[in-house]
């Protein structure tokens, strides 16, 4: 256990960490000290400008200063020492005594000289003057002409507050070091150091990039000008405009979730309980909106139903149509989110054992009765959870409202405006935290629903044969309904495609190819940087997800539940909150990342990790642990087992986690809109800019390009996963 090599490695690591620790905490202390000094200088200038000209009002002024600024003491001199007309005007007695004793010291001479040049001078050393221990400032009192000093004010500023802050910081630094040494020691000297290191690394990553930013966001809403207050929350909760936005978000969520669940249920029912044709096609098309880039559906809704919309203006001749607002938003969100409900409910319906329905039909219940009394009650928990899923997605949605909200207010956009438009970061983070409340509620209700022992009869594997529960007429009705929805989706995508070739949508519908080269040249940089960063994030997220899954499924270590919770947290956090918390946390030392590409990559990885980890966990649970144990037994160490055994066996999960990360990174908006920089731009933001400037042709071209990329990646993934399908079959063989 305690070998020489390990002890040396341990000591080296401790030294490195100590250096980082000291550097980090000293930057914190320095920046704090600078702020404090800045505050004192500003205060000094304010005071200096309030100095009275007439001698007789000086004592009253000094009295006023003493009462108005506790923790400071003052001593006022007119003129400059050694020059004609120099007079000590009085002030704090101990300061006067200190002055009398030290006035020929080098520091004092220098201070007075600075004051004569109208510059505030702060003595470099901390001094103890009477009851005050702190810094001494030489503050020039300007003459009426403002071009020379009429005198100077000695100002002693107490720094006991910052001294206690410093000792707190020091204590924290020591605690951090001790914790590190402890954890690292355990990891190094335990039986499985590799796992130990990986656990530590994951903890470090998650604490830095999940817990810390969120903490910063919460902290900011309670701190104004360095003080703890409830001001921000009072502003937010007392302001009609913000409450309106909250209500707007909820209202939109209710509409979208309800509509989407209904449509999703119809689709799921048609696919799993009728003999309708073209089920594969329906499923494939219905998943399109999930993977297509943001803004694209909104864009085509605007092209069709906007002020200059093809349908509203050209076909129906309505000049004052208004698609902007709740109606339009519900429409576009429903189209983009009903597939979530569809996929959830399809799983639910397929898991219900059809023999129950057969039994009911056997007892001479009609199909409708069977549906109402058997199928629907059994599916109800699933319906509820589908509804909640859509509800949370609707609340977190940012891209659609950004383009289509008009004067309708929703929280995510409101938070964005507060941050980028008004530069009120505290309000922004408070608003996005507000967004978290319904999201978290829904999240926990859903957890409760899925954990609760419901009476859903799940047979484990989907039944081979599912009952047909629709009568002829019903089936015809369903076909027509689904046909309309599908036609609408095709229409929307067709519009984007057509938009690429139209000169000036809404005004001039002549065919042109000019949009394509222009969009591609103007979007080239954004496209390149998006591809680069998504390409970097993809393998990192994939490997990290699989490593985390292995830890969660196979290893035992203290704090496992906490780590799991930290990894899963970003799943429940709206992108807006994530983005705002990242700018708060990483635009200052010790971790300065704003403006770099790294912050985007990190954001992609952290946000998409939960889905990848879940996939990896599910895949690993299918695999007999003795396969890995056999490899260890034959002499393979942890990294070799991971590379040679685990990764090949969970390849499908690994590939889908990577392609998921890639696609989501390519189509991200809500978080990264806060994090992009001129150097590291994002293609979706470019699409947004084009749309905002009514360059619909260019926006269409970029949207189409993005859709093609996303489809290609998914196609590739399908191909790769299919290749390893033979594997999945043999893995479970014992």
């Amino acid at each position: 256990m305690f070998t020489k090599k390990k002890i040396i490695a341990f000591c080296c690591a401790c030294l490195v960490f100590l250096a980082v620790d000291i550097w980090m905490f000293s930057t914190v202390k320095n920046s704090f000290a600078k702020t404090i000094a800045g505050v004192a200088v500003t205060l000094a200038k304010t005071i200096a400008s309030s100095a009275p000209g007439a001698d007789e009002s000086v004592p009253a002024w000094l009295d006023h200063l003493n009462t108005a600024y506790p923790g400071y003491s003052f001593f006022y001199c007119k003129g400059l020492p050694g020059e004609e007309g120099f007079r000590e005007m009085g002030g704090d007695s101990s300061l006067a005594a200190y002055w009398a004793q030290h006035q020929s010291d080098e520091v004092f001479v220098k201070g007075v000289e600075s004051a004569s040049y109208l510059e505030v001078y702060t003595a470099p050393e901390t001094m103890k003057i009477g009851a005050i221990t702190g810094s001494l400032l030489f503050v020039p009192i300007p003459a009426e002409t403002q071009d020379s000093a009429a005198g100077f004010l000695l100002m002693a500023a107490d720094s006991s507050a910052s001294r206690s802050f410093f000792s707190l910081v020091n204590a924290l630094a020591i605690i951090a070091f001790v914790l590190f040494a402890l954890a690292f020691g355990i990891a190094t000297f335990s039986r499985d150091p590799v796992t130990g290191y990986v656990v530590l690394a994951l903890f470090a990553i998650m604490l830095t990039f999940v817990a810390y930013p969120l903490f910063e966001a919460v902290r900011l809403t309670f701190i104004t000008n360095g003080r703890f207050t409830f001001d921000t929350w009072k502003t937010i909760l007392g302001n009609n405009q913000y409450l309106l936005a909250l209500w707007g978000s909820i209202k939109l969520g209710l509409c979208t979730a309800t509509l989407s669940t209904i449509i999703g249920f119809v689709f799921a029912f048609a696919v799993s309980r009728t003999s309708m044709k073209g089920k594969k096609f329906i499923s494939a098309l219905a998943t399109m909106p999930v993977i297509s880039p943001p803004f694209s559906l909104t864009l085509s809704i605007i092209l069709l139903f906007g002020n200059n919309g093809l349908i509203t203006k050209q076909i129906l001749g309505i000049t004052k149509s208004n698609i902007y607002g709740l109606g339009g938003l519900t429409l576009v969100q429903t189209v983009s989110m009903f597939p979530i409900a569809f996929m959830t409910l399809q799983g639910v319906l397929e898991a219900i054992d059809s023999t129950l329905e057969d039994a009911s039909l056997d007892l001479n219940a009609s199909r409708w009765q069977t549906f109402r009394s058997v199928t629907l009650p059994l599916a109800l928990p699933g319906v509820m959870s589908a509804w909640l899923l859509v509800f949370t997605s609707s609340l977190a949605d940012f891209a659609n409202p950004l383009l289509l909200a008009g004067s309708y207010r929703v929280l995510s956009v409101e938070a964005y405006i507060e941050v980028t438009g008004m530069n009120r970061l505290n309000n922004g983070s408070a608003l996005s935290l507000l967004l978290l409340v319904p999201t978290l509620t829904a999240f926990f209700v859903q957890r409760y629903l899925t954990n609760k022992k419901s009476y859903v009869v799940v047979t484990g594997k989907p039944s081979m044969r599912l009952s047909n529960l629709a009568s002829k007429g019903m089936q015809r009705f369903l076909s027509v309904f689904i046909g309309i929805v599908i036609a609408f989706i095709i229409l929307l995508y067709g519009t984007i495609f057509a938009g690429c070739f139209v000169k000036n949508w809404g005004i001039d519908y002549t065919f042109t190819l000019a949009n394509i080269p222009e969009a591609l040249t103007r979007g080239k940089d954004a496209m390149l940087s998006t591809l680069t960063l998504a390409g970097i994030a993809t393998p990192i997220a994939g490997i990290l997800a699989m490593v985390a899954a292995v830890l969660i499924v196979r290893k035992k270590f203290p704090g496992k539940r906490l780590l799991e919770a930290l990894i899963m947290t970003p799943y429940a956090i709206p992108g807006t909150l994530m983005g705002i918390s990242y700018i708060l946390a990483f635009n200052k030392p010790p971790i300065l990342l704003v403006g770099t590409g790294a912050i985007l990559v990190i954001n992609y990885v952290i946000r998409e990790l939960p889905v990848g980890v879940e996939g990896g966990v599910a895949a690993l649970r299918q695999i007999d642990p003795s396969i890995e144990e056999a490899a260890a037994d034959l002499g393979a160490d942890q990294p070799t087992i991971f590379k040679g055994i685990i990764l090949p066996l969970i390849r499908p999960a690994f590939i889908s986690s990577m392609s998921y990360t890639f696609v989501r990174s390519m189509t991200a908006v809500s978080a990264i809109i806060f994090l992009i920089s001129a150097r590291w731009y994002h293609i979706t933001i470019q699409i947004y800019n084009f749309s905002e400037n009514i360059r619909f042709g260019l926006a269409s071209v970029l949207s189409t390009a993005l859709i093609i990329i996303v489809l290609l990646v998914f196609g590739l993934m399908r191909l790769l996963v299919r290749q390893s399908e033979h594997l999945e079959k043999t893995v479970s063989i014992r």
Binding site: M1, R191, D192, D624, S626, I627, E628, E629, A630, A631, A632, D633, L634, G635, A636, D637, T640, I645, P648, L649, L727, K729, T730, V731, I733, R734
Partner: protein
């Protein structure tokens, strides 16, 4: 390819699992002490959940003992991970690598050891030959029968020439016939290579027919260690007697201790002498007398130790099993060489007798009455 044989020793080894949810403690293994000689094949035998697998996994390095020390070849390996020990395990579920062919599975351990390619090929070939799988070398393990998979697992463990071979119920997935064949095969290979082996099973026949010595466990505690013969004929408790074979129990009162190591005791008013291995038996108290079916015989009513009526008779060819209902419960009497003998039929009244020299006295036990 015989590696030099090494001993394995467990010193006061205990393992306690803590349920993460209920916080309840499970004492899977308690205070295990035993030593296995070089080249010996020892079986861990016991009912389901008695801690056999846990013991084996601690020796293999997959579990860390809560207490105690494990030595292989005289070295303390308690804290070594599996890849640091010269053990090789054949898992109950085989744990074959599904993404590799049979050949690649067997070669894995050698590749990890970074042996030259030619040597790997030669050794893989030799080992596959040994287990009779040479013609299936290119197959994927998913497309093998259970017995073939089992042999791949064995070959994969043997090829690295481990000092200790650990086998966890390797035959439990096979049908009866194949099981018998493989048992003989494993024994043959183990002996020819001289590997120290520990074999886990809950099948007493497997344990008896395979091992040099048997370790009988129950509820995490080792109950007896001995040769199959010892365990069968001279068990030290009612549990061991019942677990390793069919047996009848009679309550007796103990009268005196004979200097040659047997007890004088009384059963149903008749006095007899019987041997014992147990040491916690007090003169004057009561104890249990055990008799194997083959040491029992049938007499006319009133002449033996216990009277009863025949409830069933099963003809097995080389022997006949007669079930007799008595005041001590249903007792099985095995009558060998039935040809030409007159054997009592169903419903007939009989009396059960036995040869004093073949029965043994065991201490009474409270918990094990039902077994």
């Amino acid at each position: 390819m015989a590696a030099q044989s090494v001993p394995v020793k467990l010193e006061n080894v205990s393992k306690t699992f803590r349920d993460p949810k209920t916080k309840a403690e499970v004492h899977a293994v308690q205070n295990a002490n035993f030593e296995i000689q070089p080249g010996e094949l020892v079986t861990l035998l016991g009912p389901s959940g008695c801690g056999k697998t846990t013991t084996l996994r601690m020796i293999g390095g997959f579990e860390l003992p809560t207490q105690g020390k494990i030595f292989i070849g005289g070295n303390d390996v308690t804290y070594l991970p599996p890849n640091g020990r010269e053990t090789a395990t054949v898992f109950q579920s085989y744990g074959l690598f599904p993404h590799m062919s049979v050949e690649e599975n067997v070669a894995y351990g050698l590749k990890i050891r970074k042996l030259p390619k030619e040597e790997i090929e030669a050794r893989v070939k030799k080992t596959l030959e040994l287990v009779g799988l040479l013609d299936l070398a290119k197959r994927s393990p998913g497309r093998l029968s259970g017995g073939q998979q089992q042999r791949v697992a064995l070959a994969r463990s043997l090829v690295v020439e481990p000092q200790v071979l650990l086998l966890d119920e390797p035959l439990s997935n096979l049908d009866a016939l194949l099981r018998e064949q493989m048992r003989i095969e494993i024994r043959r290979i183990q002996k020819s290579l001289g590997i120290t082996a520990i074999y886990v099973t809950h099948d007493r026949i497997e344990a008896m027919s395979l091992s040099d010595r048997v370790i009988v466990m129950k509820d995490g505690i080792i109950r007896q260690i001995g040769t199959p013969n010892d365990i069968y004929e001279k068990p030290n408790s009612v549990f061991v007697a019942g677990f390793v074979g069919k047996v009848a129990f009679f309550p007796v009162s103990l009268d005196a201790f004979n200097p040659e190591g047997s007890f004088r005791c009384t059963l149903a008013g008749r006095r007899l002498n019987a041997g014992s291995k147990a040491d916690d038996i007090a003169i004057g108290g009561t104890a249990v007398l055990m008799a194997r079916p083959e040491s029992l015989s049938l007499l006319p009513p009133g002449e033996g130790y216990a009277d009863g009526t025949v409830s069933a008779r099963v003809y097995l060819g080389s022997s006949v099993e007669v079930y007799v209902k008595t005041q001590y419960g249903e007792i099985l009497v095995q009558v060998d060489d039935p040809a030409g003998k007159k054997i009592a039929g169903e419903g007939e009244a009989v009396s059960i007798d036995f040869d004093e020299r073949l029965v043994r006295i065991l201490p009474e036990s409270k918990e094990e009455k039902q077994s």
